[in-house]
């Protein structure tokens, strides 16, 4: 060792300090560079997210309002030319009565309800406005006739009366009112005829058309014939069923497998093999799980096509590796000191796991699980392979009914040929899906902070 107090020692010390100082500049430079890269990466990531969100918001928010028609509909006996609704007579059997009313309903359905729609539209138009039947009907959504017919079937006493009704304007009319259509385009390129466009402008001025909140997005199922009435209710229920199935199956199976593999399984070739395979499963493209689901659940177990049950099972398979890996990671992170403390007190292995290890890992297991479930909810590809992209015109009541899912609905809508209208609907659906995800994550964060505070 050199002695610092001797002259040579002091020189060596000065030399040493100089070297450290030289190196220091380089070290600080490296640190500044690294920090700069990190910051730039974060700014870029946030920038992309911001662009994505603004785009979706700008496109999607207008879809939450929709053009409505406020009309006076007359249930004109001249058009509604059916006998009175059958009334149950004394001594008539149940079956007879049902047959009679079904017959009457069929007669009602065979009537040309478009005439009622047309009459009520004309009633709102200025006197003498020139427009033909086909053109004027393009102002209201095509389901208007069903809405009026339903009203009449439910209340036959409406015959001969004139009442106020709110009907959806057609998708094209909605676009015209929202200014999504270039007014300068020639007639040949317009989807609405010139008289129809003029009439819509008049309606907008005299208050027959107004913008209202688009409840149909939340209450209606998808519709192709009447795009303005297309909604997410069916897809939402489909997704909800699948989420419940995934939570009920993937969470207990995944967490239990992880606990077994991590805490109890003897280290052997077999467990190593299982571990490698689980890790690989997590990297398998989701569409492959769809193929597997189609082969196993649909072809072999004969589950109905397009059913949320089949979809939920496929998503469960897909989510399992994620949950197992995340749970194992959390278990591995528990300090050996805690395990020793528990075992040293004479706790059995099971007691150690359930009394000490799981409580401290619970928040991270929960977070991982919810992220896994959220991922599954956003999955589209495997669902396409088990037929969940079928057009379903009713809200599924059980997990065995046909259904679509939110992401599949987004996929279907964005491919719809009525681009002008469905671009906004697609973004609106994305917003609903994102809202659902944010809700799930918020629940995760809430539970997590709750549990962490309690621990």
């Amino acid at each position: 060792m050199t002695n610092i107090s001797t002259p040579t020692g002091r020189q060596a010390s000065i030399e040493r300090t100089r070297r450290v100082r030289d190196g220091l500049r380089r070290r600080h430079l490296h640190e500044a560079l690294f920090k700069g890269f990190g910051l730039a990466a974060i700014i870029a990531a946030l920038g992309f997210v911001a662009i994505l969100f603004t785009d979706v918001l700008i496109k999607g928010i207008p879809a939450f309002t929709q053009a409505n028609l406020h009309l006076e509909a007359t249930f004109d006996p001249a058009i509604i030319d059916v006998g009175p609704a059958p009334v149950r007579t004394a001594g008539q059997s149940d079956a007879d009565f049902r047959a009679a009313s079904l017959g009457w309903q069929r007669d009602v359905a065979l009537l040309n309800w478009n005439k009622v729609v047309e009459a009520s539209l004309r009633a709102a138009a200025p006197a003498g406005f020139e427009i033909d039947s086909r053109q004027i009907l393009t102002v209201a959504e095509t389901n208007a006739r069903h809405v009026l017919r339903e009203m009449f079937v439910n209340d036959p006493s409406l015959l001969g009366q004139t009442i106020k009704v709110d009907l959806l304007a057609s998708a094209n009319a909605d676009n015209w009112v929202k200014g999504n259509i270039d007014r300068e385009l020639g007639d040949a390129q317009q989807q609405l005829s010139a008289p129809a466009r003029a009439l819509i402008d008049i309606f907008e001025e005299n208050g027959t058309i107004s913008m209202g909140f688009a409840w149909s997005i939340f209450t209606n199922v998808d519709s192709r014939a009447a795009p303005a009435s297309a909604g997410l209710a069916g897809a939402f229920m489909g997704s909800l069923f699948m989420m419940v199935i995934v939570i009920l199956l993937a969470v207990p199976i995944g967490v239990a497998s992880a606990i077994y593999l991590e805490e109890f399984a003897p280290k052997s070739r077999l467990t190593d093999l299982i571990e490698v395979n689980i890790n690989n499963l997590a990297a398998v493209p989701s569409i492959v799980f769809g193929l597997l689901g189609a082969a196993v659940f649909i072809n072999y177990f004969k589950l109905p096509l397009s059913a949320p049950l089949a979809g939920g099972l496929v998503l469960t398979l897909m989510t399992l590796p994620t949950i197992i890996i995340a749970t194992r990671g959390a278990l591995q992170g528990v300090s050996p000191a805690l395990r020793q403390a528990a075992l040293g007190m004479g706790a059995s292995k099971t007691q150690m796991v359930f009394h000490h290890v799981l409580p401290v890992t619970f928040p991270s297991i929960l977070t991982a699980t919810i992220i896994g479930v959220a991922q599954a909810l956003g999955e589209t590809a495997p669902l396409l392979l088990i037929g969940m992209n079928a057009f379903v015109a009713s809200i599924p009541a059980t997990p065995l009914d046909q259904a679509t899912a939110l992401p599949v609905q987004i996929y279907l809508w964005q491919a719809n040929e009525n681009r002008n209208f469905f671009e906004a609907r697609t973004s609106a659906a994305i917003l609903v899906l994102l809202g659902f995800m944010i809700l799930l994550n918020a629940i995760a964060i809430l539970l997590r902070t709750r549990l962490e505070r309690r621990a």
């Binding site: 280290k267 300090s335 000191a337 805690l338 395990r339 020793q340 403390a341 528990a342 075992l343 040293g344 007190m345 004479g346 706790a347 059995s348 007691q351 009394h355 000490h356 409580p359 401290v360 621990a455």
Partner: protein, 278 residues
């Protein structure tokens, strides 16, 4: 180097802490080990250890780092079972009963032989829960008031009660290092073990906390058989009545603490005590 030897010499006056050596040797044997060897995989860590540990006295294991003190301590409550690849051979008896007998339940054994670790490791639960945990899992308390009593008396015995009596429901991890270690001791004695193993219980503590724990160990000796691993020869001299010196996986010398420190027979023991092996 000479300074250290001087220090040891100074403490030699404090050796023989209230128990006279012959008294100690007459005590019944609680633990008996014969030809204990341990392998970690292919590596042999202990070579034929044979030792008797007397009832209600403090026995200390000393020796340079890596000589196998912790390994041997972990054989006594079978904590080595939890280490992947560890293989223990030989005989260890607690009151004449083979603790490696396949018919014996490890869980029961660990209720009879408690352990305090080098780094304080209270459960991330309340102070009360920490102490109550052992009695709960072993079913020692018949009622809530029983349990309360065990918790309070264990905390008292560990000399911690006065400091924590107003915050029994606060997390045990919020205590100071020394308090945490006493909490771990309270947790161990709450089960009413016969033997308490301590692996360098003071190595993470400051001198004052160390002194408090040493005093505590001295008190506990009346009711428990204590085995302590320590790197501090002064500590071994202060708290233990019997000392065993390990070196390179072998038990070199064992005997009454006073004899080992004042009159070591073996040259290696002498070197270690003089600070020449470290």
């Amino acid at each position: 180097m000479d300074m250290l030897a001087g220090k040891v010499k100074m403490t030699q006056q404090s050796v023989n802490n209230g128990m006279n050596p012959t008294d100690m040797l007459e005590r019944p044997i609680r633990l008996h080990a014969k030809d204990v060897t341990v392998h970690y995989g292919a590596k042999q860590a202990l070579f034929g250890i044979s030792i008797d540990i007397p009832d209600r006295a403090v026995t200390s294991f000393i020796g340079p780092s890596g000589c196998g003190k912790s390994t041997f301590l972990r054989c006594i409550n079978r904590m080595n079972d939890t280490i992947e690849g560890a293989k223990v051979r030989g005989l260890i008896e607690l009151d004449g009963e083979d603790i490696y007998d396949p018919a014996l339940d490890v869980v029961e054994l660990r209720a009879r032989i408690g352990m305090v670790f080098q780094k304080p490791n209270p459960f991330p639960k309340s102070i009360y829960e920490n102490v109550a945990y052992g009695p709960k899992i072993h079913g020692l308390a018949r009622s809530k008031s029983d349990l309360d009593e065990i918790v309070v008396s264990s905390l008292r015995k560990a000399g911690l009660f006065e400091e924590v009596k107003d915050r029994l429901n606060e997390p045990g991890t919020g205590l100071s290092g020394g308090q945490q270690q006493r909490l771990c001791i309270a947790r161990a004695i709450a089960v009413g073990p016969e033997v308490i193993l301590m692996d360098e219980p003071c190595s993470a503590l400051d001198p004052i906390a160390t002194a408090i724990i040493e005093e505590l160990i001295d008190e506990l000796r009346e009711n428990f058989t204590i085995v302590i691993v320590t790197h501090s020869m002064q500590q071994a001299a202060r708290v233990s009545q019997k000392t065993a010196f390990f070196h390179l996986g072998k038990l070199i010398e064992e005997g009454v603490t006073e004899d080992i420190f004042t009159n070591p027979v073996n040259k290696q023991t002498q070197d270690y005590i003089m600070g020449r092996i470290g």
